[in-house]
Amino acid sequence: MRKMPLKPIIEVLVILSLVCAVPLSVPAQQANFPKVKEYRIERSVPPEAVACIECHRATTPGLFADWAKSRHANANISCLDCHLVQPGDTDIAKGHDQYYSRSDLPYGEGKYKVPIASIVTPKDCSRCHPDEVTQYSRSKHANTIEIIWKLDPWLNKGMNSDNERKTGCLNCHGTVIKIDESGTIDPGTWPNAGVGRINADGSKGACTSCHTRHRFSVAEARMPEACDQCHLGPDHPQIEIYEESKHGTMYHAYKSEYNFNAAGGTWTAGVDYRAPTCAACHMSGSGKVLTSHDVTERLSWETQAPLTVRPENFKPFPSKSDWQTERNKMKAICQQCHGDSWINDFYDGFDKAVEEYNEVYFKPVKKKMDELYEKGLVDKTKYFDEHLELQYYELWHHEGRRARMGAMMMAPDYAWWHGFYEVKNRYNAFMEEADHLLKTGEKAYIWSPYPNATGNTKRPVEVFPE
């Protein structure tokens, strides 16, 4: 018998393999190529805005998808509504112009060119949300740069470097944005979404601290996770305190039932949420109390200050209200779920904790510290370069805050073990060391040279005009 012809066999094999491959390749494609979010021009949008969307859909698809899911997209609010600048504005991102002469990009043509700013500020947001911005602008959030420059020795004595500040302190507190002639943002001030950021247009803060880009969600800002990006750690562990409190425990157990998307002015304790989140007590409307974007409005003690004072007596930034009014407001919020004796007795414990901290711990330590400075046993020129200065600082700035804040938000571990227990130990160690110097007349050892104490000590003129 002659050899079988090869050609038909190969043909059959090729056809078979194709037939088999087709059904196999379909699920493979679905897994590897998820459907891209679509965008059809169905509502009136200026062609320049279409260009923004189509180009960013290709170049930064995550950013586009985020916006596409936002309430802004629902309302046909496009990129330009926030990013467009008017002629004469100082924050025009000139570097962006180059993308309008890129034939490899969708809509990369000169006819779509518009001046834009990369940083959108509360002033821009005020075009549509003026009352929210007005409230925010008077909060301690918006004015935190002014406050820390009036208080903080790290800044005033230049004890850390500019980059330690940029990546640390100012990441939350906010940088003073600088933009040069060519429209480039100074990398020492950017990226930043700090609550007290000083913007090129003179406005303060960043709405995107809590309503992150490009979703700008009210639901997100109502969750404690919006606050915990800054309010954590040894010096202000509000989130850890919340987690430990009954409110936090209930939030974690029931958050899947929470209706975070309730319309503004309708978010209701006991209906939309079981236990409050940070926003529910500090910002949201509740009962007859109206919503405020001034997050520090309802406070009755400054528990972060060295000596606890009433907000209207807080010298770096005195509140315009009085503590009794604000406490009554906060009590009205408690009343959504609690009875009067519960509320009053809770405040009784908080007030006592504040009083004990002030009188028993802080004032004697402060007095001793002043005496050491007066006698020249501790050197005043720098800060943090002597052990006692660090002890003093941590007593109020770390455990002293934890004790007060822990008592305020009913987290026993923070009120006691991370709080007053540590305050007590610190107090004793401080007094022992201080008394030793006073008795012997020995001067405190100075850590010199102090590492990386290179930061600028000049107050920003944008906040403190000369």
Binding site: A75, D81, Q86, R127
Partner: protein
């Protein structure tokens, strides 16, 4: 005539009695009409932007206005200085006195105050502006389907919550008297008009 009998008691005839008031009225008209005409004519003459520009302090403002969209638009509407800066002429009393007051004040300042501070004048103009001034023409501010943001912001002006009252010029402060590099035509605006947001002065604490 019966009346003639009563006249005989020493009283003048009716025509005779009326003659004095008639003469007085005629004299009154002869004096008042030219006076009225003069003041009316003066009001008309002094209500034009050209008249406002006759003070050199005001010239830059008039120039900026003439280049703005309040002059240059497809419908041909021109909004004069007094349309924004004075009460409506039909509120005769308010109009007359506001106009006279400003006229006299400007003349006094011109002669007795050396330097004209444009920025200060701008701030006091913002402070003096009532929303009614703008809303004489801009009345439909809520239904703007292409401007969803403005719909939201305008609600907070028209139905302002206590403590959050705003003036139109708090956001629309850069509309007319800004220095431009070219004449602005509303119909040739490349991009949609946007208010700039609340003035920083309004955000102060």
């Amino acid at each position: 005539m019966k009346e003639a009998g009563t006249e005989s008691k020493g009283e003048k005839p009716a025509l005779g009695r009326a003659i004095k008031p008639i003469i007085l009225i005629v004299i009154g008209i002869l004096i008042a009409f030219p006076l009225f005409s003069i003041s009316y004519y003066t009001m008309v003459r002094t209500s034009t932007p050209a008249f406002c520009a006759s003070c050199h302090e005001i010239k830059p403002a008039v120039r900026a206005w003439s280049e703005s969209t309040h002059v240059n638009n497809a419908v041909g509407v021109v909004v004069d200085c007094m349309d924004c800066h004075l009460p409506a002429p039909q509120d005769t009393f308010d109009f007359f006195f506001a106009k006279s007051y400003h006229g006299i004040k400007d003349v006094v300042i011109h002669f007795f105050v050396k330097k004209y501070d444009r920025e200060k004048a701008r701030q006091s103009a913002y402070a003096a502006f009532d929303n009614d001034q703008c809303q004489k023409c801009h009345r439909n501010l809520i239904n703007m389907p292409n401007s969803r943001g403005a719909m939201l912001a305008h609600r907070s002006v028209i139905y302002a919550r206590a403590g959050y009252e705003k003036k139109c010029v708090d956001c629309h402060y850069d509309l007319v008297h800004n220095d431009k590099i070219a004449v602005m035509y509303r119909q040739y605006r490349k991009l949609p008009y946007q208010a700039k947001g609340l003035r920083v002065e309004k955000l102060g604490i």
